[in-house]
Amino acid sequence: MMAVSEFLSRAELLKQGAEARVYRVQLLGRPTIVKERFPKLYRHPELDKKLTHRRTVQEVRSILRCRRAGIPAPSLYFVDYTSHCIFMEDVVNSCTVRDHIALLQRSDSPQQLEHLEHLAEQVGRLLAQMHDEDVIHGDLTTSNILLRAPGSGSGSELVLIDFGLSYISALPEDKGVDLYVLEKAFLSTHPHTEPLFEKLLQSYTCSSPRATAVINKLDEVRLRGRKRSMVG
């Protein structure tokens, strides 16, 4: 067996997804997350290898592109392009924005709404920044944005993860669809949060001169989505 697979067979499995397994390990003294894309047996082996390789490459390229622009994403330590494994920084003391929203919603703090809105605004700003770099995330959900524990220093507290479906595009249409995917996920994960999502979009709009074109496309995509669901 290959050394990497053998190493992972002894590692702590965090998540078994449809495309990948996520592990938590120590690598060279650092807390590390490993994302391993495994073969999909129903696909033709050659095609499968190409697709899996492409996803791995897209993921690491987008992470570097974001980081270069000052957009927080996990640092990369080691990539095995043979077993399609990415070894990256474990963002310690973090939780997903999804869990944090749920936590805030359950709290009975008088500042609950204020905190939720602040978070939504932060997310909106971050996504505008990402789209300004022409990075399309491809799978935006509140689980794919981590919130570093407040007070852990480094400026912005949000960290984008899971760039496996990402690609580079300057088209407002692609950015609009990216937001549409988030909107669907957001509203189904966090029921009755339409005004909160609206705040997110407002902050997105204020953060980039190119945002208006994207929001117009988002409106078009929503309309198409609605028509499709009426037909189907």
Binding site: A3, V4, R67, G70, Y81
Partner: protein, 175 residues
């Protein structure tokens, strides 16, 4: 003063880093490495941010060696190649390999748990003063490093220079 780490993925492999200052025979050392008399990577420490950077390069070299996919001829040249942000082998040696006139050298050896003779053999050849590996921070030239790895000012706001460097090392195969 040696810094020895185990490679987690290759539990029987150790990486030992030894840092020397006031080195008077860098040319001779380099020649011995070229001729294979020294089994080690001789690195110019001004291009290193932290020992972790060397570990990342060594881990990748051992990995590619194991699966037969190295880009260079030996494990030690591969470590030097892996440090570089580009895929040009000659550039990597020019920037990260030791030069004849250098007076500081980072020596990196990959060995098994009981192969300690390889280390003492090397210390015997070096005409210089061994210092703790952590002294690296006083030798490293961050302006030169930022320029070579093309680290942006924004990037340093969301992470350390070390993170910026190892990211580029990890991704250079698919640039």
């Amino acid at each position: 003063m040696n810094l020895t780490n185990t490679l987690d993925i290759f539990p029987d492999r150790r990486v030992t880093q030894m840092l020397f200052k006031e080195v008077k025979n860098a040319a001779e050392m380099r020649q011995s490495a070229v001729e294979g008399k020294i089994q080690a990577a001789l690195i110019n420490p001004t291009m290193l941010v932290d020992p972790f950077q060397v570990l990342v390069a060594a881990n990748k070299a051992v990995h590619l060696h194991t699966i037969g996919k190295m880009k260079t001829r030996s494990l030690y040249s591969e470590i030097i190649f892996n440090l570089s942000p580009t895929n040009k082998i000659s550039d990597a040696f020019k920037r990260f390999g030791v030069s004849d006139e250098d007076d500081a050298v980072m020596v990196v050896v990959v060995h098994s748990e009981d192969e300690l003779k390889a280390l003492s053999d090397i210390t015997e050849i070096v005409d210089g003063r061994q210092v703790p590996v952590d002294d690296l921070s006083s030798l490293s030239d961050s302006a030169k490093i930022k320029k070579l790895y093309k680290v942006t000012p924004q990037e340093e706001k969301c992470g350390s220079l070390l993170d910026a460097v190892v990211c580029r090392m990890a991704i250079k195969d698919v640039l």
